[in-house]
Amino acid sequence: MSQPVLRLARLCVDYPAGDGWLGALEDVSFEVGAGRALGVVGESGSGKSTTALAVLGLLAPEARIAGGDILFKGASLFALPDAERRALRGNRISIVFQDPFASLNPSIPVGRQIAEPLALHKGLSDGAAGEEVRRLLAEVGIANPQQVALAYPHQLSGGMKQRALIATALACSPDLLVLDEPTTALDVTIEAQILDLLEKLRRDRGLSMLYITHNLGVVARICDDVCVLYAGRVVETGSAESVLRQPRHPYTKGLLASLPRVAERKHRLAPIPGRFPDLSAPPSGCIFHPRCHFAVDRCKTEPQVLDKDVRCWRAEELADAAWQAPAEQVDDAPVRVPAADGTPPLVNVDALTKEFRLGGMFNSSRVQAVDGVTLRVAPGEVLGLVGESGCGKSTLGRMLIGLIEPSAGTIGIDGGSQKENRRNAQIIFQNPDSSLNPRKTVEAIVGRPLVLHGLASGGDLRKRVVELLEMVRLSPAYLARYPHQLSGGEKQRVGIARAIATSPKFIVCDEAVSALDVSVQAYVLNVLADLRDRLNVAYLFISHDLSVIAHIADRIAVMYRGAIVEEGPVDDVLGPPFHPYTEALLSAIPDVERGSGVQRIRLRGDAVESGRHVRGCRFQHRCPRKIGAICESETPPVIEPSPGHRIACHIPLGN
């Protein structure tokens, strides 16, 4: 067998923490063979980004290599003097970072930034480098390389930026390409385009890749091998196929069970309970035992080693055991009684429109963020609202609870006045870090709406807050804590407790689980589903992630450029006939099961056009199934293939 391009040998990396050290990576070993793609998978805190930085030699100066080695083509990187290490960077080993919006220097034209490694490592002249830059931009699928090379980063869309960064990384034809969550910040249809590009580049150039991600679906598409990290330790490694289909380590099993899937929808997900360990004082024995269903006494004392590619001594006997939902949620999940037909809808939204003015004092333009949306939500119903960034879904959600004043149209919630709406309609925000006041305790945060609406006072107040916390499965011990003492999932649950404090009938969940890790997301989704069943509260569940929506919603509305293009019961929307946009969204989801090699539908272009929609179908510019001039000239009719399932499209049914 040929020599691996990259080999990590028992690498340990520490960061200073208080008086001691925190082990960010412990005994991490893996290798990337020539022309192979290794996926390094883990949730936040798993050490996956530290791994990427260690390979590049870009660890923060305070980090300490506590042991082990990194071998590039058989030679130790740590043995190299700084100058030689630097000569490898951007040349033999290059990296694409997560956030294309932050990875380009805002004040230098894109072409000059791509040319930098060419001039540095290959000594190309300005002219030769410029030519090479245009060739690279064309290779990564940019239609107008000349123009893009001269543009500044803010003039490009996210997808174009990420293509430019990939071009930079490829400039010197590296032996190893490190990708650190390269599609996480992008919309799902753009992610699909970038993944296609990476697949093509791998084929054409025979690239070796180290692909770091939290997304198991992406691993299934791109990677040959996978290495699962938990708390800085490799818990399982193997071929992507076998790890994803037959996970052996309990953590991998839990991760896969936490994943909402479009194809197989369940009543409840099986999340991983508990919280991420404190790495400055890791638990004794197996690092995962406090969260593991399968843990026995021996796990608590005996540190685990990687044996036959799994860090679990029970792996063999548990080979067929599936990850189970925690007991607490099985017994108290009541069966939900669906609302009888003919119940009047709880939320009535008619022709709702919001127009924003953009620009400064002198040249302003208008943007129709929401354009004539009509919606109904029944009591206790979950309406999933899916769409890409900039489609107006958050603006719509905020108008419903009165945070944004509509330009036109009406909103009725249970026939109440605006003041009653404040109590009846609540919101859960995406980012629990910025939506909880850092100077208030959990008790004050959750109690605030109760006091504000005069719902409880004195001794009752605390009793009620404790009750609310219990509903989101937080113990009374959390009352006195501050937000910074909580984990991401706990913070979001406090946000939920605050939202349900006034016993609302309707809650807008604005990307409420998008910032959370998969296992935590599953837990919060279960909490939300339980609350719906217990309190009969209706949700408008806004998300860019169709899998999450498919899991939790009763009905789905698909939004594109300010308007609903398809709406209907979950099964109808997720099955044909489709609106072409819904079809593309579904096809773009990197799915654990499907793997690679499936024919996919791809959208043209990569930005939601801004400005005013004038004529015809709003999806005409990107539609892969555009049928002709009619799409450009006439507003598509709403067709109803089955009761309650509406599609706004010119394509006739049965096609």
């Binding site: 590049l56 870009l58 630097r86 000569a87 490898l88 960077r89 951007g90 040349n91 290059s94 990296i95 970072f97 956030d99 932050a102 990875s103 380009l104 220097n105 805002p106 004040s107 230098i108 930098e116 490694p117 540095l120 490592h121 107008n144 123009q147 893009v148 543009a151 500044y152 803010h154 003039q155 490009l156 869309s157 174009m160 960064l165 930079t168 002198f362 272009g605 990569d606 930005a607 056009e609 801004s610």
Partner: protein, 319 residues
């Protein structure tokens, strides 16, 4: 860019017009009678009446303003009441001398402040960084008039290297000129350098932690190139804004420094005119200060656009 500059110049004209009204109104409510001040306390009623008539002091206030403002538009700033000379050349010389002081100071503030800021950001946490930090806080906290006295005592008194006060024109020889200007400049610069270096340091540290700086390092660029090409230019954007604000602080400082060092610039002339109730000089002086400040802000905004392409170009390119 040209259209923008013209638009901003039009704003400045409006600002100056509004300011001229405010200044005119404010100087009218200053206590004391001008004619009395000119003639001294033994003047007779008739003499005072004659002076008042000659200076149109009995006209309604809007008529006085219009007369003054139309003079301004013709480039006529009026006549100093105390010195009985046209204000134009008088104030012109003073402005020039103050401008020399301010210009040299602001260049030093920018160059030394930015350099110190970048130096301590790059060596963050080192002993040098800490020394610069401590010195900065010290210089920010101590007021200018105190520094002025300390440097006079030390360099003019004890060491006797430079003259304590006064001014020498460049025509009297470069060295003589320099000896007179060193102490005022040093006093003016001390606090502002500290101010600018603190700000540059924090903005530089933030920039050095940004993703694109990591991305630049990942290309294999040596650290000095990363700092110069990728970090510095973006880190300087907030510094430029602060430098423009510092021009305002500098003008406040100049009044103090010129008074202490008996430097015959605009600041000292203003103080003198206020004491003497020489209203036309006060008006012309304050209006000049306003104009300088407005122009400094315009310069900063133009520089800002130079450093920040998002301002120079519109959004969105072809997709």
């Amino acid at each position: 860019m040209l259209a923008y500059t013209l638009k901003r110049l039009a704003y400045i004209a409006v600002i100056l017009m509004v300011m001229s009204m405010l200044i005119f109104w404010a100087t009218q409510v200053m206590p004391g009678d001008v004619a009395q001040m000119i003639l001294g306390q033994f003047a007779t009623e008739d003499q005072i009446g004659a002076v008042r008539a000659r200076l149109h002091l009995d006209d309604p206030i809007h008529a006085q303003y219009l007369r003054w403002a139309s003079g301004l538009l013709r480039g006529d700033l009026g006549v100093s009441m105390m010195m009985d000379r046209p204000i134009g050349p008088l104030i012109g010389e003073a402005i020039l001398r103050s401008a020399v002081l301010a210009g040299i100071s602001i260049v030093f503030v920018a160059v030394i402040g930015i350099w110190l800021g970048v130096y301590s950001a790059v060596r963050r946490g080192s002993k040098t960084d800490r020394a610069i930090s401590i010195a900065s806080y010290f210089f920010i906290s101590v007021p200018e008039f105190f520094w002025a006295i300390v440097v006079i005592l030390m360099f003019a008194g004890t060491l006797g290297w430079f003259p304590a006060t006064g001014y020498a024109a460049l025509s009297e020889g470069f060295w003589t000129w320099l000896r007179h200007i060193i102490l005022p400049v040093a006093t003016l610069v001390s606090g502002l350098v500290a101010h600018v270096s603190r700000l540059t340091r924090s903005s530089m540290i933030e920039t050095m932690q940004s993703q694109y700086v990591t991305a630049a390092r990942a290309k294999g660029l040596p650290e000095n190139v990363v700092i110069r090409r990728h970090a510095l230019r973006n880190a300087l954007v907030p510094t430029i804004t602060v430098l423009a604000i510092d021009v305002g602080l500098l003008m406040g400082g100049i009044v103090v420094v010129e008074t202490v060092f008996s430097y015959p610039g605009l600041g000292r002339m203003l103080i003198f005119a206020i004491e003497q109730k020489d209203i036309p000089v006060v008006q012309a002086g304050i209006l000049s200060v306003t104009a300088v400040y407005a122009l400094a802000n315009l310069a900063a905004d133009l520089l800002y656009a130079f450093f920040n392409p998002r301002i120079r170009y519109g959004n969105a390119l072809a997709r």
